[in-house]
Amino acid sequence: MSQHSRLISGLGPARYTSTRAIWAALFILGVLFGDSAMAADEIRDTIEEGIETYQRAMRAERRDERMALFARSEHLFSDAIERGARNASIETNRANAALQTARTGHAIWGYRRALEIDPSHTQARRNLEQARTRLPDWVSTPESSGFADTFFFWRQALSPSELRLWAAGCFALAALGLAIALIRPGLTGRLIALIFSLLWIGLLAPGWIEQQKESRPAGVLIAEETIARSADARHAPPRFTEPLPAGTEFLVVEDRQAWLEIELHNGRRAWVPASAVAPLNQP
């Protein structure tokens, strides 16, 4: 009896410790999941308010009221994006609100971001083309289709995340075929491995080729007018006769904190203040 008591008393603290650990783990998990669920709810509320504000703006009759509501709607969509919403639809919504308030720079930036997430987003592509027509004729815009896009047509049909998922699936199936071929040598495994390897390469190669061709980050000018300079100094000579308008698209050649050297899509290079620029990878 006493031996049993000793055993029980000896096991007790260890059992309680493990129970505490389990409860602590459950608590931490609960806090983490609860926090993320709360954040998701906040995002949904913000988006809902943004949609409602946009719809009110569409109904508003006075111009100043309409402008104020569109601006508010853009702000709400931005807020949701900053909180973690990441998809082409919300980027397009935000860009639409910006276009309604005649903020061409922010609109073009938003549509470009939407197309980065989903190149097949028809509305973003169409509105981007429309927003570009608001720019002066001499402002160069990127070529919308290249060799890779024409030859590898599926790049237009799939978003990059879908493309990555499909490629990973093909890789897994090719690996399965290879494993079969290694364990039980025969034609079936080899054929499976070959077909899915080719598909995997086909899905990833265009992106890789594109990346080899152009790896510089892209951006859009959002300041109403930006004087492009020939050097990274405020009093450096202007590079062009006209200031660059909001919505001018470019590639970043060099980043020196306060100044960026950019390359326009006609190959011309200039320096612009970093404050006038919105890179596409910025939330």
């Binding site: 988006i47 949609i51 949701a80 919300i90 276009l99 169409r126 001499w138 990973a168 000579p237 006609n266």
Partner: protein, 609 residues
């Protein structure tokens, strides 16, 4: 006929009764609002303010009612405010508590009669929603106060001509017999001029400092106290104290204006008495009254004929324009901020900046001016405008003199001044022109979209801002889709790649272990075979048996890398000694030898595992 109808249709009678009953019930819901007109106690005098109140009881708490009144002929009637008041009362009757709330609104008016006689006040009206309440008409007698030679009041100048927008100083002088200095108890100075804010605007009245002498005048915005100066003047052998003050005004409408004279009504104490505390108090008083000359003013617009292009509404004298630039050495195309400062004797608040892209200012082929119209601000008595210009021509050597014109009412003509030119050094920039910049080729038609967007041609003029006929500005309202975050789906490719790599690794490991497994199997087969050979030796001739046992153990030892040679070697030597003993003299204990050989074989197999 009627009785017949009700006789044949008794329900009509019932219906009529219900209608009448319900209307009676609705009237009985609350007392109907009652209006009462209240006037200050008389007598009433010309040019003196008379308080007129319209008091209505029985309205709702909200909304606030509005007051309406028509001024009687020969008088001004001005609304000054509406005052609400709520009173509650509680009554207990037969154990039942009844609470009653009474809401009263009072519209406050001020009536000023300009001539003596009987004055009829038309009904005053108060409106709250659909409820309208009117007072009864009322008549009062206005007494005249004889003009007193000991008082005089004037607005100067009495006759003048001015220009629309001109800043005109006026002077108010109140002459008062020096003997009345201590006898004036209170006074009221009024002029219709001060109550025409849409026609004559008074600008920035001076604020009287504490303890300074002031002159209080009645205006449309209430009573104001202006700092006054006191002089002593003698006229017709009478000594006067003259209180004078100045106001600046600006005419807002052109035309001929005949404005009744300014008036002052005062109360002169004729007899004093001492109260219980020895202080002096008025015991008797009489009214004094004075009226100034009517004003005959003409307001003209600045003449359109000969108006310079650089005229921007400045009226007055001695205007000047100073221009400064934030830099004097620029690259072509650089923005230059010009600060234009206008000073002069005139009202600066309404003057603007003339267009700068004109002759006499900045040539359009050399300068480009920001199209934003600067509003300007008044700083230290001058109006400042800031304008951004860009130099378009390398040959520009100065910001030329800029012309600025104003209308001088004294000279009745436009005057012009010019700023001083500013030397400028313009250096050519590393510039490409718009013509050098080639737009990218128009995009190919979209491969995937059902409605490919129209692509602007290179030569197509830009669409005017605001026109987005082909843009689809509808928004996605699917909240589930919009709230999608970068999360689990982003990890799926990683998991799939991990799975694939694991599969390949496992397959390679499996394949790599096949040779080793074959070797192990062959060893097992050999062990079983040699063990069977050793076990079968018990029936054989001892010599033959020992040879087979030694051969079997040697075969097993050749397969094993870790054979127990320390035990195996002595045993094999022992077997050899018996086998190769001369004349077969050595004797063998075969069962023991077999048992030992099996143990050695077992040990070697264990090592192989």
């Amino acid at each position: 006929m009627g009785s017949n109808i009700f006789h044949h249709h008794p329900f009509l009678f019932l219906l009529l009764g219900l209608v009448l009953g319900s209307s009676g019930a609705s009237r009985a819901e609350g007392p109907s609002p009652e209006a009462q007109l209240r006037l200050a106690r008389g007598p009433y005098y010309v040019s003196e303010a008379i308080e007129v109140h319209l008091q209505v009881t029985g309205l709702q708490r909200s909304p606030e009612p509005s007051c309406h009144a028509n001024p009687p002929p020969g008088a001004r009637l001005e609304w000054r405010g509406t005052q609400p008041s709520v009173s509650s009362s509680m009554r207990i009757e037969g154990g039942q508590v009844t609470r009653t709330e009474t809401v009263t609104f009072t519209c406050q008016f001020v009536l000023v009669a300009s001539k003596p006689g009987r004055l009829r006040i038309d009904p005053l009206e108060m409106r709250q929603g659909t409820v309208q309440v009117q007072s009864e008409p009322h008549a009062i007698q206005i007494e005249s106060i004889p003009l007193d030679a000991r008082l005089r009041i004037e607005i100067l100048p009495t006759a003048t001509s001015m220009v629309l927008g001109q800043q005109v100083p006026i002077r108010i002088e109140w002459w008062l017999d020096a003997k009345l200095d201590e006898a004036i108890r209170r006074y009221s100075i009024r002029s219709p001029l001060f109550e025409m804010p849409d026609t004559f605007r008074f600008l920035d009245d001076a604020i009287a400092s504490r303890n300074a002498t002031t002159l209080q005048i009645q205006t449309s915005e209430g009573e104001i106290a202006l700092p006054a100066r006191v002089d002593t003047r003698i006229e017709n052998n009478r000594e006067y104290l003259v209180l004078s003050t100045e106001r600046n005004m600006m005419p807002l409408q052109s035309g001929q204006f005949e404005i009744p004279g300014i008036t002052v009504s005062a109360e002169e104490v004729t007899r004093w008495q001492r109260d219980l505390f020895g202080s002096r108090r008025p015991a008797a008083s009489r009214r004094l009254f004075a009226e100034g000359e009517p004003l005959d003013w003409t307001v003209n617009e600045a003449p359109a004929a000969g108006q310079p292009e650089s005229f921007a509404g400045a009226i007055g004298q001695g205007f000047s324009l100073e221009v400064s630039a934030d830099r004097s050495v620029v690259q072509r195309g650089d923005p230059i901020e010009l600060t234009l400062v206008i000073q002069g004797q005139g009202h600066l608040g309404t003057i603007g900046l003339p267009k700068l892209d004109r002759a006499g200012a900045l040539p359009v082929d050399a300068f480009r001016i920001s199209h934003k119209e600067p509003t300007g601000k008044i700083v230290d008595g001058a109006k400042q405008f800031r304008v951004h210009v860009r130099v378009l021509d390398d040959s520009v050597r100065e910001i030329p003199a800029i012309e600025y014109a104003w209308f001088d009412p004294e000279k009745d003509s436009y005057q012009t001044t010019r700023s001083r030119p500013i030397a400028l050094a313009v250096r050519p920039a590393d510039i490409i022109s718009a013509a050098d910049v080639v737009r990218a080729a128009p995009p190919e038609p979209s491969q995937g979209g059902p409605n490919p967007p129209p692509t602007p041609a290179t030569t197509q003029p830009p669409v005017a801002p605001g026109i987005l006929s082909d843009a689809d500005l509808s928004i996605d309202v699917q909240i589930d889709r919009l709230a999608l975050q970068k999360g689990a789906s982003a990890n799926a490719p990683t998991l799939l790649y991990g799975f694939g790599i694991s599969l390949i690794t496992a397959a390679f490991l499996w394949r790599g272990s096949a040779h080793w497994r074959r070797k192990r199997n062959s060893r097992r087969v050999a062990y079983r075979k040699q063990r069977a050979v050793i076990e079968s030796c018990s029936q054989d001739d001892p010599q033959e048996a020992l040879r087979k046992i030694a051969a079997a153990l040697r075969a097993l030892a050749s397969e094993s890398t870790t054979a127990p040679y320390s035990e195996l070697e002595p045993f094999l030597r022992e077997c050899d000694d018996i086998l190769y003993a001369p004349n077969g003299s050595a004797a063998a204990n075969l069962p023991a030898q077999i048992q030992r050989a099996l143990e050695l074989a077992e040990a070697m197999m264990r090592d192989m595992r």
